[in-house]
């Protein structure tokens, strides 16, 4: 079993009671039930291998197409092995789709959104999980309710607002509406309800710490594993978000997905160029997945137990 990722913190504060590793939440559940599972037979491996190939093949083929030229791409049978032109095509796509600018923009947008989502979700999640206040349940219901509202419903007035603020075609137009996330608040609340012992918060109070201090020195260390997962998931979403950036940004100042539409817009389609662009736009997230894959997987699963 590989579900005990989200490593328990080793540098936990001295106040953490022994035997209470931070973040014992859903993973304890997962581990204790692991014993009953059947072993996979050959058929399961074959089916899973087919699924893995189907998952990965389109990306592999993106790379193949991006590394050949257009005459080779349009031959039958299509090429299945990489050609020699990968770097020249990547360079062309970098220039023609303004990928440099798009990458920087996407990095800023996704970075700021992920940071602020994590910070505000942890603050609100802590309040909902461990603090008592009037209207708590009502407000929490509101948070959950907002998850059901499709963002497209608000897109026309939002566009008008941005025009009025002078933010059309500017990054703040993409950043501000997504600074917080209801899913994030809910995720952190679920995590902290289980991972943060009440006694720890009380101990802080007895020591005379005010709420912000408790948040800073007790909650943040405990929440860090969940925060890093939420950061990565939010980053992926913000990087890939398409509809609103497409509406409010133009080609002079695009994010990566918006820049990619530029490549396919012409009448004569340069397939190798398009695939090189698609590869460029996906590469940063693929690297992130290869490095943090285990964390992202367990994070999505941990968020889902009570989903």
């Amino acid at each position: 079993m590989t579900t005990q990722s989200l490593p328990a913190r080793t540098d936990a504060p001295a106040r953490t009671p022994a035997g209470q590793p931070a973040g014992r939440g859903g993973r304890r559940l997962l581990r204790q039930r692991a014993g009953r599972q059947h072993h996979a037979g050959p058929l399961a491996y074959v089916l899973l291998a087919i699924m893995a190939v189907l998952s990965i093949f389109p990306l592999y083929w993106t790379m193949v197409a991006a590394s050949t030229d257009n005459t080779r791409v349009s031959q039958t049978p299509p090429p299945f092995l990489p050609g020699p032109n990968l770097f020249s095509n990547l360079a062309r796509a970098w220039d023609e789709a303004a990928m440099g600018k798009a990458m920087v923009n996407s990095l800023i947008v996704a970075g700021v959104i992920a940071l602020s989502t994590v910070l505000f979700a942890t603050l609100a999640g802590f309040a909902f999980a461990k603090l008592r206040f009037k209207g708590r349940n009502l407000l929490l219901m509101l948070v959950i309710g907002t998850m059901m509202v499709p963002p497209q419903l608000a897109v026309v007035p939002l566009f008008m607002m941005m025009a009025e603020l002078g933010w059309s075609q500017q990054l703040p137009a993409v950043i501000f509406p997504t600074l917080v996330s209801a899913v994030g608040v809910f995720f952190m609340r679920q995590y902290l309800s289980e991972a943060l012992p009440d006694e720890l918060v009380e101990a802080g109070r007895v020591d005379g710490a005010h709420s912000l201090r408790i948040f800073w020195s007790i909650v943040l260390p405990v929440a860090r594993p969940a925060m890093s997962v939420l950061f990565m998931i939010t980053f992926v979403h913000a990087w890939n978000d398409f509809f609103w950036p497409f509406v409010v940004l133009d080609m002079t100042n695009p994010t990566v997905p918006v820049a990619l539409t530029q490549l396919s817009a012409g009448y004569v389609r340069d397939q190798s160029l398009i695939m090189a662009g698609a590869l460029l736009g996906t590469l940063p997230l693929l690297v992130m997945f290869i490095v943090f894959g285990r964390k992202i997987v367990s994070g999505i699963m941990a968020g889902a137990v009570k989903g």
């Binding site: 590989t2 559940l29 997962l30 039930r33 692991a34 014993g35 009953r36 599972q37 059947h38 491996y45 089916l47 899973l48 699924m51 893995a52 189907l54 998952s55 389109p58 990306l59 031959q75 039958t76 299509p78 505000f120 309040a127 008592r132 907002t146 499709p150 963002p151 419903l153 608000a154 897109v155 026309v156 007035p157 939002l158 008008m160 509406p177 009440d198 109070r205 005010h210 709420s211 890939n240 398409f242 509406v247 990566v256 997905p257 918006v258 990619l260 539409t261 817009a265 009448y267 389609r269 695939m275 698609a278 996906t282 992130m288 992202i296 997987v297 999505i300 699963m301 889902a304 137990v305």
Partner: protein, 328 residues
């Protein structure tokens, strides 16, 4: 509990003390009470402030705009037209076409996607080597943006040199015109959606499956249930709430479908969803009305239609659930 601690603390204070130390302590207690009472609201405030400004207010404003004529070029000029936009939308064949496409693409992308996710989760739930590899691999499509995924699949589904038609040709099937013909186009677009989201849903199911108590399986196998029967009678009911959750999420996603059909119909036909609007969705129609025909009021009307579709879908789901529980 925070409040009980507070009371205990203030109660412990020796009564009737005077002098500087007492005043300081009383001021400290006041600050403490203010902090305990006020801090939670400060902590949740950022979420609600941003949500109110950039989601709730625009949401309400959408309905107001839908009762007006507003041109994209002159956004501050709003002419009151009452329900004209709604009447026109009702009589517009493009709307009914887009509505129908949204529903059909939604069904043929969501149903197979969730079924495959269920099967995949079941496989991933086995004890095996390389389980982490298989999990990460099934999640890789989720890391791909709509734009990149749609570009790749557009090429794979290309009529003359696309991989799918080549593969069909090797087994003697005539090439399919995936872009121009209605059902092939909708199937191709659904493929993109299915590819991107199956692994994600599978992980949600897997998490829920691992939380099913082992004794239920033991009881079932004592009763002589086969593995398939255990899957149907223990696993599926055990993760029912997660299944409902994913149905809700996918329904919301399907209502808003935009990037996949836009990029699949590359070039000038993108926004109209193909030469005959054969895969124009409500999301595309919303964009076409607002940013191609410059009619923001009508665009807002389409947004409301999308919302109503969503509400109807959930009412229908509820009804089906109630009918089912009554019959069983």
């Amino acid at each position: 509990m925070a409040t009980s601690t507070t009371k205990a603390r203030t109660g412990e204070e020796p009564p009737g003390r005077t002098g500087a130390a007492g005043t300081a302590r009383r001021r400290g207690a006041l600050m403490h009470r203010l902090d305990v009472k006020g801090a939670p609201y400060v902590f949740v405030a950022p979420f609600f402030v941003v949500f109110a400004a950039f989601s709730f207010y625009p949401l309400v404003y959408t309905s107001w705009i839908s009762l007006h004529d507003v041109e994209l070029a002159t956004l501050d000029v709003m002419e009151w037209v009452a329900f004209d936009n709604y009447v026109e939308l009702w009589g517009d064949s493009r709307f009914w076409n887009a509505l129908q496409n949204t529903i059909t693409i939604g069904v043929i992308s969501t149903v197979p996607q969730l079924m495959m996710a269920l099967g995949l989760a079941h496989l991933l739930n086995y004890r095996m080597r390389a389980s982490l590899f298989f999990r990460v691999a099934s999640l890789v499509p989720y890391a791909t943006s709509v734009a990149a995924a749609a570009l790749v699949f557009t090429m794979i589904f290309e009529r003359d040199f696309g991989m799918i038609n080549w593969a069909l040709g090797t087994v003697g099937i005539d090439p399919v015109n995936w872009e121009a013909d209605k059902w092939p186009a909708q199937a191709a677009i659904s493929t993109i959606v299915i590819w991107r989201w199956t692994g994600y849903n599978a992980l949600l199911y897997l998490a829920a499956m691992q939380a099913i108590p082992a004794d239920r399986y033991e009881a079932a196998s004592l009763d002589g249930a086969s593995r398939w029967q255990q899957f149907i009678h223990v696993t599926v009911p055990g993760i029912r709430s997660t299944i409902v959750f994913t149905i809700v999420l996918s329904t919301i996603g399907a209502t808003q479908l935009f990037g996949e059909p836009l990029i699949f119909g590359q070039g000038p036909n993108g926004i109209t969803g193909g030469a005959d609007n054969q895969y124009q969705t409500l999301g595309l129609l919303l964009y076409e009305e607002g940013w191609k025909n410059y009619q923001m009021g009508r665009s807002a009307t389409v947004a409301w239609a999308m919302f109503m579709l969503l509400v109807l879908a959930f009412v229908a789901q509820r009804l089906i659930k109630r009918l089912r529980s009554r019959t069983s």
